[in-house]
């Protein structure tokens, strides 16, 4: 119905306007990085927007957990915005609401991100709230019950999402510990009492572990406030986590309903040239359709209508996971996975210039759009500072991408095919392929 309407309606923009190619103004928003007196790195991007955001990025993801603090990161995340010396949890929420701000805490495999989005003039208040989480949270024992409830709820809710389960399992198969630690505190969590969370918080909240990222904020003001609000931060040097090692392997989980399959290889750490090449490879294999009702361009997208195929390229500070995710009917997944492997091998041997430049354009767009969105930008800058100590702006990453040759792609594809594949089969495990069956 809607479709017909759209097709019949006359274009309101004159065609000539569409045909003239306009260049987007790439006045690169200046990224300023400086080290505050407290030892915390402060990054800010001035975009001149009326809505600002500030985030405290802490290297406290499940990666930082040790054998006796499994699951602590998830608990710590949910302990954000609880009662502090200055405000009750209720007051924090109400005051933020009155100022029209949004507070959130997010967990990634390596970082814990406390973020606030607000109107430009309220920076002092919101950075204050974020610093209170670190210094002033009271960790009342009776709050533990509430936090545990919300942790259990989130864990159980994600257990019902096959995509999350499959990718989480793929990480644990690929890396075992460290990056393989589950994002969610499941039954194997070692957190049983409030003290476990306090110990974990004490361990991770140190100056070298923290980066503050602001968007559309005045850098000087942000720096000044950081010096003032974070002056009591501990300067203990955190123990460096054991470097990630890729293992690979196979995991098969029976489940009802639609089948899901992950085929992954050892990728490259974020912020390395190989990572960018993998972004191109990802776009080359990508089985997603990018126009509504359209046909996909490559074989994976156009030949398997009843299977959802998407590629992922996860880069971490010292390792990465590159792979393809399938969901649909088990037998079609079998075919699709075989084709995907063929495509990957094809990428090693001969890729046409046309396919390559198409993939390059898509990769360029993916990178540019990742830098565009506030939340993902914050995460990118935070991770870059915490792992390499400097910020790589979008223009630089894209410029690097433009220099890539087909040869680079072939080299990297050869390299990842040499790693032992990680496969996760979830669903009808009788029909889903074993990794040997994929003729890798």
């Amino acid at each position: 119905m809607f479709r017909t309407c759209r097709l019949l309606s006359k274009p309101t923009i004159p065609l000539s306007n569409i045909l003239i190619r306009k260049y987007a103004s790439v006045s690169a928003s200046p990224v300023v990085v400086s080290k505050s007196q407290t030892g915390i790195t402060v990054v800010s991007v001035e975009e001149g927007a009326p809505a600002s955001s500030v985030a405290v990025v802490v290297k406290a993801g499940p990666r930082a957990e040790s054998a006796n603090s499994v699951g602590a990161a998830h608990f710590l995340k949910n302990f954000a915005f609880k009662e502090t010396q200055k405000r009750t949890s209720f007051r924090t929420i109400r005051e933020a609401e009155l100022l029209g701000g949004v507070l959130s805490s997010n967990l990634t495999r390596e970082t814990l991100i406390y973020s606030a989005e607000f109107l430009r003039e309220d920076l002092t208040f919101f950075l204050g709230i974020l610093s209170d989480i670190i210094f002033e949270t009271k960790y009342f024992p009776y709050e533990f019950g509430d936090v545990k409830k919300s942790v259990n709820f989130e864990t159980n809710a994600t257990k019902a999402l096959p995509e999350v389960v499959a990718l989480n399992t793929a990480h644990s198969v690929a890396f075992r510990h460290g990056l393989g630690n589950s994002l969610y505190a499941d039954e194997s969590t070692k957190v049983t009492y409030i003290q476990d969370i306090i110990d974990y918080a004490k361990k991770v909240f140190t100056a070298p572990n923290i980066t503050i990222v602001g968007t559309s904020v005045d850098h000087k003001e942000l720096l000044g406030l950081t010096n003032e609000l974070f002056q009591n931060i501990s300067h203990a040097v955190p123990s460096t986590p054991i470097s990630s090692k890729y293992y690979g392997g196979e995991e098969r989980i029976p489940a009802k309903g639609t089948s899901h399959y992950v085929l992954a290889f050892e990728g490259a750490p974020a912020n390395t040239p190989d990572f960018l090449v993998l972004q191109v490879l990802r776009s080359l294999l990508d089985g997603e359709k990018h126009t509504q009702w359209g046909e996909g361009v490559n074989i994976l997208a156009s030949n398997f209508k009843d299977t959802k195929i998407s590629t992922f390229n996860n880069g971490y500070s010292d390792a990465g996971l590159f792979g393809i995710y399938f969901s649909g009917v088990a037998t079609s997944i079998y075919q699709a996975a075989r084709t995907a492997v063929e495509q990957l091998k094809h990428a090693v041997k001969d890729v046409s210039e046309e396919d390559f430049s198409r993939a390059l354009a898509k990769a360029r767009y993916n990178i540019a759009s990742a830098y565009e969105e506030r939340a993902s930008k914050t995460e990118i800058f935070g991770n870059q500072i915490l792992s390499t100590g400097k910020v790589i702006p979008a223009s630089e990453a894209i410029a690097h991408l433009d220099q890539l040759k087909v040869q680079d792609l072939q080299n990297v594809a050869t390299k990842i095919l040499q790693s032992k594949p990680t496969t996760v089969a979830l669903g009808d495990i009788y029909s889903l392929p074993y990794s040997e069956a994929l003729s890798l």
Binding site: T88, F90, R91, R94, F140, P141, Y142
Partner: protein, 123 residues
Amino acid sequence: MSFPTLYHTVKSNRLLYKFVKPFADYYANISGYRQLGLRYDDIIIEENSIVEQALKRLPPEENDLRNIRIKQAFQLSLMHSILPKEQWTKPEEDIRHLSPYIKKVTEEEAEREAFEGVKIIRK
């Protein structure tokens, strides 16, 4: 859980405190809960939302001890007897274990009320 009190006035005036304290101690002793092995905080009326919330926050081990004391007192009351004198609650054992939580919850309630700018009163 708030009621008019002269506690702070008495506490801050040393002379008044010295004068009133013996009577207070005497009153606490004759009110009878100590003879049943209870603490003052065990006989605070529980049937309201604030104390209920405060009881939920009590650490589990404190709560267990509290339940044991109340059960014992209930049994004694049924038997129309009191504990032998050496088992009475001593003044130094009469700790206000629940009051801080009640105070906290009361403050939180007051804060909540304060934030509710408009209060609709039905007639």
